[in-house]
Amino acid sequence: MHLVVIGLNHRTAPIELREKLSVPETRLPEALDDLASHPRNAECLILSTCNRTEVYAATTAKSDDALITAWMSRFFATAASDFEPHLYRHAGHKAVEHLFRVASGIDSMVIGEAQILNQVKNAYSAASQSGHTGAVLNSLFQKALNVGKRARTETEIGRGAFSVSSVAASLAKSIFDDLKGRTVLIIGAGEMGELTATHLLASGVGNILVANRTYERAVSIAERFGGRPISFEDIPSALGFADIVVTSASAAQPIISRNTVAAAMRVRHGRPLFFIDIAVPRDIEPGVEELDGVFVYNIDDLQAAVETHSAARRIEVSKVEDIIREELEEFMVRFRTFGAVPVITAMLNKFEEIRLEEMQKLNGKLRHLSAEDLDVIDAVTRSIVHKISHTPMLQIKDYMTRDDAAARLDSICELFGICPVDVQTQDEEQDTD
């Protein structure tokens, strides 16, 4: 059995190419039928997400990569030379490991994201429903889904914030729990400030206030976020009811003084106030963070938090890799036995042939037998063949896990006088990236 994966992802190909080579869900059955129309692609599956397009194929004969790339070129109507430099190819246990990594989310753009597991699941059910998966891909993908689930339940890979704006949102949640109904005050215009505001909005923040030195600018930003513009002079009173303040105004002097915040805190009755100061130089006067119930994070603090998170993430990735190693080892033992399938099939076919032949003879000789008698004899001969072939079958599967599997299979073939289409042991084919 040969297993190969050929594809491209966000690391190897630019977005324009990934877009061109993606298979929309509605076209998936058509793509699979087209891909499988070549007789040698016995089992195949297409995994297509916005960050990757991969073709998994399991064949009895040594697979021909050119067939898959030719299909890609035809199906996506793109010259092979355009995408071939961006393709990676993994075979055998490397292909299994690759799929396990994909399913656990450590091959994703955003490490540990949850969507990919569903996308793998959908790709698998699309392929299996249209009858393009067999023993190999079925057990491979069921295992991969299992590995993906294990990675998410047994490690922290699916948790944690990994960018400045998501860290800010996560900190806000550590203060306010539910961000629903909270008010954010955005002071100043700037990409980072707006990005943070977007993240907070996505986390469920209810009201948005926008203050800017030029009121017109505040109005236009407020319109974009569905918020309310306020004048710069109203900031001190707004601090009384806003919960999160994002500042990114460029100013030589701090905009918000310690006294202003102290006054606001008296109105707030100890309700916490969270400042996210993205401006350099800072908009919040140093000393504000000393006030009780006030939390001030500037860009450096947020950056440091991101670092902490990514260190934690590295640990989680290595835990996931441990799981993958463990599952890979277990799976490969089973995978090797798939190589025995052609031999076993040939052996069983031969036995069945002999049995049918002998039944025919019997039929000619003993004409007096009734249909019922013949049925009984048929069942008995079947059972004899079944019992005789049982032990060799198990033994052949076991041979596949030995080092000298090829030689052993050869002797089996000699012994029974069979010659399956392609008796080769699972070879470790080279990878290309």
Binding site: T153, E154, S174, H269, G270, D292, G293, F295
Partner: protein, 275 residues
């Protein structure tokens, strides 16, 4: 007797496991750990409850008439209260805290010499006794959990202030959640304590002939009541939260310990019945 003691031991073991699992899940354990912790605690609670039932059957009355008995019941109420709360809002730190406290209470109770068959002094035989003790114990459990919330609040605020963002910060309850939960606990605990004091004074009237006699336990109960009244005042009337609310919760917790245990060892008074 062996059966109840064995059940208590099993409960001790399970609470220990639950506490370790809660701690593990705070420090970054996987989902499996997070799910196992409450299961472990609930199993412990079942064994614990069976032990209490066994003791009650043996005594032929509610097992809440001395320190040994009430510690066991209080430990049970505490874990039960946390598990009920967890259904609404999961705070693993509080799970670790309540199972640990229960564990300690069970361990302490096992060091108290107890014969489990002594007859009650006449003063303890009253219809008010069960209501009085049960309401007091529920209020104590509430206050212990409220203290746990305050501790979690202060720890979280400290982490956020010192900017040591980590997994711990995402696993501790948010300031808001801790504050809300503490408030809920006190709003259950305070009426319970009020009821406990009222039924206690009715009981005192029948047992000692006086509603209130400034016995040390009564005095401390009153102080405790005043502290939580102050907390509720601060929280509801002047809508303050944060630093002052937390300080009152800590003070209240100290008063609860003084009322519940301290008085028995440090002072002599009417409440001295094996307590």
């Amino acid at each position: 007797m062996e059966h109840t003691a064995a059940a208590i031991d099993v409960a001790l073991l399970l609470y220990g496991c639950a506490c370790a699992l809660y701690l593990w899940s705070i420090l970054g354990g996987a989902t499996l750990i997070r799910r196992a912790a409450p299961v472990c605690a609930a199993l412990g609670l079942a064994f614990h409850g069976a032990a209490i039932g066994g003791i009650a059957v043996r005594l032929g009355r509610a097992p809440i008439m001395n320190l040994f008995e009430s510690l066991i019941v209080l430990a049970w109420v505490l874990v039960a209260l946390y598990l009920v709360m967890e259904r609404r809002h999961r705070i693993a730190a509080l799970g670790a805290f309540s199972t640990l406290i229960s564990l300690c209470m069970l361990a302490i109770s096992s060091t108290i010499p107890n014969s489990l068959n002594e007859a009650l002094v006449p003063a303890l035989r009253s219809q008010w006794s069960v209501v009085h003790v049960v309401t007091c114990l529920i209020s104590y459990a509430c206050f212990v959990l409220a203290f746990g919330c305050a501790a979690a609040y202060m720890l979280q605020a400290h982490i956020l202030k010192t900017k040591r963002a980590s997994l711990l910060q995402t696993r501790l309850p948010s300031l808001d959640a801790a504050d809300q939960m503490a408030y809920k606990m006190v709003s259950v605990g305070f009426p319970m304590l009020t009821l406990g004091i009222i039924t206690g004074s009715l009981w005192a009237q029948t047992a000692w002939g006086s509603y209130w006699s400034w016995d040390p336990k009564e005095t401390w109960a009153l102080i405790t009541w005043l502290v939580y009244a102050a907390y509720l005042h601060v929280r509801i009337i002047s809508k303050w939260r944060g630093r002052w609310a937390n300080r009152l919760l800590v003070a209240g917790f100290v008063c609860v310990i003084a009322t519940y245990i301290g008085v028995n060892f440090l002072a002599r008074g009417l409440h001295k019945y094996n307590w």
